[in-house]
Every structure is written in structure tokens, then in C-alpha cells.
């Protein structure tokens, strides 16, 4: 893949100069070689800081929520996965389509800074592709105003639900033991919620006091309810960007639950891909078919 | 005519009805016996049971009677009935299933139809394509109608419409292996 940074900078510069957008969200090179954190700029002269390298893995779209009432227009860079998150936010009416200028970047896979660190690598080429990128189905943005670079072919290989099936094969007690081992690690830091494009409510149900869903104390029961609730709130809406799992400091395989829900929705209510088409009908739990499977007679 | 004692007939025939429905993928309970199939069937006049009565027999589970009927062999698979059926009951598919079941059970009423089918398929298995001449000769011998259509041969040959030697495809092993594998399978009804 040729480096699109030049084109990105030029476009960003033009957009800021002619006032088409009020700010730009992209990535810049961090202090360390394996970091490319988000960059927020409002002035044309800052655009030279923009990069799109192996570590531009963060989705930037949830930052749009911070400005949802500002009335300002943002230029934002999106990869394929990010773009589905953007569709999610647009479908949930959290921002207006006119308030974003979407610059699409086809992406052949990014790398995870944490993996870079843990692998002891000293340069990017030694770092394997991020796990979530290996399963990518949408390397090309599904929504954009302009696209930079050539379309990339999806490289998803193998069964996207392989991990789910592995868990399904366990006995009930094995499953519970597995999830207990995972969820007991949870710190309830809420990073997974905060990064999730489907978690775009103004006030989160977990933050409401009447009634309080979760106890303040951190215990397994409440951790489980937290994860189940969050997954259920995202049911039929999760865009599989994998950000939740990526940001989890405890390495909880959060996507294994989200993917289970996707798999079941496909089986029960017909194939459905969230966040792919902007003008589609309500998500699966916001609608029904009289012919839905009947198990409750 | 004998009175059919329904409760025992229905009990005995339940499995048959279910099997036929599963194999043919035809829901016979959809049929409300309007008879449109029979009315439009060009071969019905020659049948012992009208087509809608064939469905009726399956609905009731009258296995022996339907599988030994001539009607199932006299269906020309012309698809008139399914084209017009108000309930989308695929009668040609049902007839296929019943014929196969009759084969298995050995209750084929129209021996010649079955004989012809057999000889035809043997010819295809041997040559990859049927050879009319040899097939017809064997058919006439086996069906005991030695002189049937015998005058046609020369006429057809004169017009270049029949040859003495069978046309055989070169890679006939492929077709033979197809027959072999099909025999090894269970008939594919469940697919």
C-alpha cells in the first residue's frame, strides 16, 4: 500500500482553508514508533502532522459524539471498520450526515500497539497484523464523501464464528467457568463502552440511579450483568469493529459475546450486517416478522 | 366396495404419508381436493385413479393402494397440474416419489413403463447416451411385443434418424461412475 499521508494532508489543508470543515480528526505519529494516536486539528498549518501508518488502528468516529451539539462540521478519516461505526452513529441520529465530511481510507490491516510492545519488536515489520484485522470483512469504507487510495480486497479467512463455536461446544458449567474466569478480571473501567460506536446514548443506562442497574461494588455478578447488558444493548447494532476488545486492559474477549449475538441474529431472523447501509430498516430487535421462529408455544 | 375403517387406516398410514411428504417435499395437506389437476390432466382418462385421488390416497395413507395404482405410472410429467394448482401442491414431484417408492416395494402396475425406464437407463449407463435401436429391440423382446414399431426402424434409418451402431461417448467411465455412486447413495430423497 502506498502511503496516502500526502494526499490526506493536502485534502485536510484544503478543507480547513476553504472553511468546508471546522476541524479535522485523524492520526498523528506518537512519541513511540508503535503509537499513532488521534489528532484533532483546526488550523491548516497543522495538517502536516497527519499520518496513516500501520498503527492508525483507533477508530475516530466516537469522537464525533463529543461535538454532537456544537453545530460544527468535522472532517474525519475512516477505515472500513470505522466507517461502519460512523453509519451506526448516523443511523442512531446522533449526528447529522451534513455535519461530517468523511474521508475514506481503504485499509489492508493495522497493527496493535499493545502487541508491538509485548512482542518485543523493534520495528513495525516485526509486528503481526492485529487480530481484528485478520477477520476483516469490510476493508473499504462503506460511507464516504471522498476516498483516498485504491480499494482493497477483503482478506477475511476462515470461519468468523470459529471462536464462538468453540465455546458453544462446551457444557453449561464449562461455559460458565470460562466466562467467570474472563469477567472476574473486569475492572469496570468502562473503556469498552466508551470506545463503542453503538454505545452512543447521551446518558448511559449504567449511569442512571433510578433504578440502578449495577451495584457500585465490583463483583462477578455485576460484572456479568454489565457485559450481558452492554452486549444486549448492542444486539443487532454491533458493527464488529472490535474496538471494545482492543481497548480492554484486562484482555477480556468481548467480541466473543458480540459475535455470538450476530451469529444468532443471522440464524434466527435472517442474515444481517449492521452499519453497512445507511438507509436500511430498523435493526433486528427494532422490528419483527410474524414468521419469526416460534419456540414458545 | 369395502368400508374403509378410518381410524385404523389413518394410524397405519401416518408414517407413509409423512415419508412421502418428506421425500417429495410436497405438503399433501395443502390440497383441498378441488380437482383442477385432474381436470387439466391429459392422461387422466387412462388412469385408474384421477390425479386428485392419488393425493387423497396419500393424505389418508393408503399406501398399498396408491403404490400399486396405474395412475402414478401414467403421469406424463407435463406439469399442467402444478402450473395451475391453487395450493402449489407439486403433483409431478409427488408422482416421482410414488413411482420410486413403488419400484422399491415391487408394486409397479405399469410394467412396461418401468421396463422402458430401466432399459433406457441401462443404455445410458453403457454408452453415456441411449441407443434407440438396441434399446427398442430389447424392450420389444422383454415386453413381449415383438413386432411393435418394427416398421419404424427402416423408415427412421432411411431418413438418417436411427443408426445401427450405438454412439458412445469416449469417457464413458465418468457416466458409469455416476451410476455407481448414485447406487451407493440412498437415492438423495433427503436432499
Amino acid at each position: 500500500m502506498s502511503d496516502p499521508s500526502g494526499e490526506m494532508r493536502e485534502l485536510a489543508k484544503k478543507l480547513l482553508e476553504n472553511g468546508e470543515v471546522d476541524r479535522i480528526i485523524g492520526w498523528e505519529k506518537g512519541n513511540l514508533w508503535y503509537q499513532s494516536p488521534p489528532l484533532f486539528i483546526t488550523r491548516a498549518e497543522e495538517t502536516d502532522r497527519l499520518v496513516f501508518d500501520d498503527f492508525a488502528i483507533n477508530s475516530l468516529v466516537t469522537y464525533l459524539l463529543d461535538e454532537r451539539d456544537s453545530g460544527k462540521k468535522t472532517g474525519i478519516f475512516v477505515k472500513g471498520c470505522d466507517s461502519r461505526g460512523l453509519v451506526r452513529i448516523l443511523q442512531d441520529k446522533q449526528i447529522a450526515r451534513e455535519s461530517v465530511y468523511v474521508i475514506g481510507l481503504p485499509c489492508s490491516g493495522k497493527k496493535d500497539p499493545r502487541q508491538a510492545l509485548s512482542s518485543g519488536a523493534s520495528e513495525s515489520s516485526q509486528v503481526p497484523p492485529a487480530a481484528k484485522c485478520e477477520e476483516c470483512l469490510y476493508p473499504n469504507p462503506v460511507i464516504y464523501d471522498v476516498i483516498i487510495g485504491e480499494a482493497v480486497e477483503a482478506k477475511a479467512k476462515g470461519d468468523r464464528f470459529a471462536a464462538v463455536k468453540e465455546i458453544e461446544a462446551k457444557t453449561a458449567d464449562e461455559k460458565y467457568a470460562y466466562w467467570t474466569s474472563q469477567y472476574s478480571k473486569c475492572l469496570r473501567c468502562l473503556a469498552c463502552r466508551n470506545v463503542c460506536p453503538a454505545c452512543n446514548c447521551r446518558e448511559c443506562a449504567f449511569d442512571i440511579s433510578k433504578p440502578r442497574i449495577l451495584a457500585k461494588e465490583n463483583n462477578l455478578s455485576h460484572n456479568m450483568v454489565y457485559h450481558l447488558t452492554r452486549a444486549f444493548h448492542a444486539a443487532g447494532r454491533c458493527v464488529e469493529c472490535g474496538e471494545c476488545e482492543r481497548v480492554c486492559p484486562m484482555g477480556i474477549p468481548i467480541m466473543q459475546l458480540n459475535k455470538k449475538i450476530i451469529k444468532e441474529i443471522n440464524d434466527l431472523f435472517g442474515p444481517y450486517e449492521a452499519g453497512v447501509k445507511l438507509d436500511e430498516t430498523p435493526p433486528p430487535l427494532g422490528t419483527y416478522q410474524t414468521s419469526d421462529p416460534e419456540e414458545f408455544m | 366396495m369395502k368400508t374403509i375403517e378410518l381410524s385404523s387406516v389413518l394410524t397405519a398410514g401416518k408414517a407413509f404419508t409423512a415419508k412421502v411428504e418428506a421425500d417429495s417435499k410436497v405438503n399433501v395437506r395443502s390440497c383441498y381436493q378441488c380437482g383442477k389437476c385432474s381436470a387439466g390432466c391429459p392422461a387422466a382418462y387412462a388412469m385408474d385413479y384421477a390425479p386428485h385421488q392419488v393425493i387423497r390416497m396419500v393424505q389418508l395413507g393408503l399406501e398399498d393402494r396408491v403404490l400399486s395404482s396405474h395412475a402414478i405410472w401414467l403421469c406424463a410429467s407435463c406439469e399442467n397440474c402444478i402450473t395451475r394448482c391453487p395450493r402449489d401442491v407439486d403433483l409431478p414431484a409427488l408422482m416421482d416419489t410414488l413411482r420410486r417408492a413403488a419400484y422399491k416395494k415391487g408394486t409397479v402396475a405399469e410394467k412396461n413403463v418401468a421396463l422402458f425406464n430401466n432399459l433406457f437407463l441401462q443404455s445410458v449407463e453403457t454408452y453415456g447416451r441411449p441407443h434407440e435401436m438396441s434399446m427398442m429391440m430389447r424392450y420389444n423382446m422383454k415386453s413381449g411385443q415383438l413386432m411393435k414399431d418394427v416398421f419404424r426402424g427402416p423408415e427412421l434409418m432411411k431418413r438418417g434418424k436411427m443408426s445401427l451402431r450405438p454412439e458412445k461417448i469416449r469417457d464413458n467411465g465418468a457416466v458409469r461412475r455416476i451410476f455407481g455412486r448414485v447406487r451407493a447413495s440412498s437415492g438423495g430423497e433427503q436432499l
Binding site: - | 391429459p42 406424463a76 406439469e79 399442467n80 425406464n117 445410458v124 469417457d171 457416466v175 455416476i178 438423495g188
Partner: protein, 297 residues
């Protein structure tokens, strides 16, 4: 335009006229027919009467050979066409069927190519305007009864290209060739082909009905697209006449023969002399009509 060509068993024997005229028409229309090498019999009704798997596997081998070439398949015989469409649909409709069939025929077959009736290819696919423009020797209002038979258009979920009760493809073709298609009610009724050998009595009755109604409608010839119909209506016509004590005298012709005739091919070269019922009245009517016209202006 290039198609894989599956002549079927009849076209080398009883349907020789169909073969000759098809090749002549293809030549004039510029349609390239690539005969599937070492094709095998589709199994006809004998196969589907006997074994479902066999009835799918036999056609599948031919279709797979064409699929390898990336070609759609043109099928002249209505019966073969029906079996091939049934196979195509079954394979397309079920992954299990696809796998099983591919295994049996030792070839991958995914039904990515289409099966087309030769009638469809020479009319709808080639374009009737082109056909009309090539009909340099129009058929002078020859009154034809277009006989589609049963399997060319029925059942509609398989046949797909024309109406099952009152099809028009051949009628429009006759119009393009300068002939007249009479309106008659037995266009899609069955001639009884399946019983040609086993229950000839039924065939004679069914074919008689077809001939009687064509005659009553004022037809001077019956046009067909099926070699089995041809055999019954043509070869057995004398027997039918004798059995019912009537004179019918209806020449039976393949649509391709009339196309070739109108395209200017010599009648003998396209099989007019190979019929049981004398076809010279047709040729004569066309020639006389043409001469009369040439004199008149």
C-alpha cells in the same frame, strides 16, 4: 455470442432436422455454439422416475463441463431443458445438493452459468429485430400453430422465460419471419412423449387432440421446439389418422427449420426432406407467395 451447446440424444438421431437447421440458423445469426465435448444423456423422465440423485447428476455433468468454460448452455430439446433447469435450481437452492452432486460427478458444479432454451437464445437473446432483418425470404403469411409442448414453459418456476398458458416467444418469432401464428388453445398441452414406447395408445390420443385443434384453428403447419413432440406428431400422424378415421395432413416443423428457410437456406439442407409428413406444401406456399409478389409490383 457464444454458448455451450447441449444437443441432447435426439438431435443426432430422430431429431436430425433440428440439428441441421439449428447449425444453419446459428451460422446466419452469428451465434457460436460450442458443443459440450463428450456430453451425456440427461436421463430424461426415466431418471427422475427412478432416482432423484441420478436425475440431478446426469444433467449436472454436462452443465459442469460448460461452467468450466464460463458459458451459458443452449438446449434445443424441451425435455433436456427441463431436466437441466431442474438441476440448476436444485444446486443453486441447496448447499447440500451442490456438494453431493459435485462429489458424484467428480467435478465442481456451482450453477453459476445459466441454462437457456435454444428458442430463447435464437429469439430473445439474439433479438427479434435482427432475426427479422435476416429473414430475406419471408414466409408469406404461412399459417402456423406454435406448439410449445409441456416442458418448454412449464412449470413456470423452472422454465422462466415465457408464459405457461399462452406463451408468445414462438408466435413473435413467426411474426418476425413473415408467417402468421394462429391463436389456438393447445399451445402448451402435452403430446404424451413420455409414453412413446410404453403406452403408445395414450400418445396417439393426446397427440390427436393437439393435431385436431391445430387443424381446427386453420394452421397449415405446426411449429415445435421439441424433438419428442416432433416424433409423435410427425412420425405417428399416419397412425393417428388411421385410428381416428380422419385426414390431418399437417406438416410439423422445427422453429429452426422455418428460421433457416426464411434466412434463405435450401430446404433439403436443413432437413425438410426428412419428415414423415410431406413438408413440400409449406415450401411451395412460401415460394408461390414470393413469386406472386415479385410479379405484382
Amino acid at each position: 455470442m457464444k454458448y455451450a451447446y447441449y444437443p441432447g440424444c435426439s438431435l443426432d438421431s430422430t431429431g436430425i432436422e433440428y440439428q441441421l437447421s439449428t447449425k444453419a440458423v446459428a451460422g446466419t445469426l452469428g451465434v457460436e455454439l460450442w458443443e459440450i465435448p463428450e456430453w451425456n444423456c440427461c436421463g430424461a423422465s426415466a431418471a427422475h422416475n427412478t432416482d432423484r440423485l441420478l436425475s440431478l447428476a446426469l444433467p449436472a455433468r454436462n452443465l459442469a463441463l460448460a461452467e468450466k468454460e464460463g458459458l451459458d448452455v443452449a438446449v434445443p430439446c424441451a425435455a433436456c431443458y427441463s431436466r437441466m433447469k431442474a438441476t440448476e435450481k436444485a444446486v443453486r437452492g441447496s448447499e447440500d445438493v451442490r456438494e453431493k452432486i459435485s462429489e458424484i460427478i467428480e467435478m465442481e458444479y456451482g450453477a453459476s452459468n445459466r441454462t437457456l432454451a435454444l428458442l430463447d437464445v435464437f429469439t430473445n437473446q439474439a433479438g427479434l429485430e435482427q432475426v427479422a432483418s435476416l429473414a430475406t425470404k419471408p414466409l408469406q403469411g404461412l399459417k402456423t400453430a406454435c406448439y410449445y409442448g409441456c416442458l418448454m414453459v412449464k412449470p413456470p418456476r423452472l422454465a422462466e422465460f415465457d408464459d405457461p398458458e399462452d406463451p408468445q416467444t414462438m408466435d413473435r418469432l413467426m411474426d418476425a419471419l413473415g408467417a402468421e401464428a394462429v391463436s389456438w388453445p393447445y399451445k402448451t398441452e402435452c403430446c404424451g412423449a413420455g409414453f412413446a414406447s410404453s403406452r403408445t395408445d395414450i400418445v396417439l390420443q393426446m397427440s390427436y387432440e393437439v393435431l385436431r385443434l391445430a387443424k381446427t384453428a386453420g394452421a397449415e403447419a405446426v411449429v415445435t421446439a421439441c424433438p419428442l413432440c416432433m416424433l409423435n406428431l410427425d412420425m405417428r400422424q399416419k397412425e393417428i389418422e388411421a385410428k381416428n378415421g380422419v385426414a390431418i395432413d399437417l406438416p410439423i416443423l422445427y422453429f429452426t427449420e422455418l428460421m433457416a428457410l426464411a434466412f434463405g437456406h435450401k430446404p433439403a439442407a436443413i432437413g425438410f426432406n426428412k419428415h414423415f409428413v410431406d413438408t413440400t406444401p409449406v415450401v411451395r406456399k412460401v415460394e408461390q407467395g414470393r413469386r406472386a409478389k415479385e410479379v405484382q409490383p
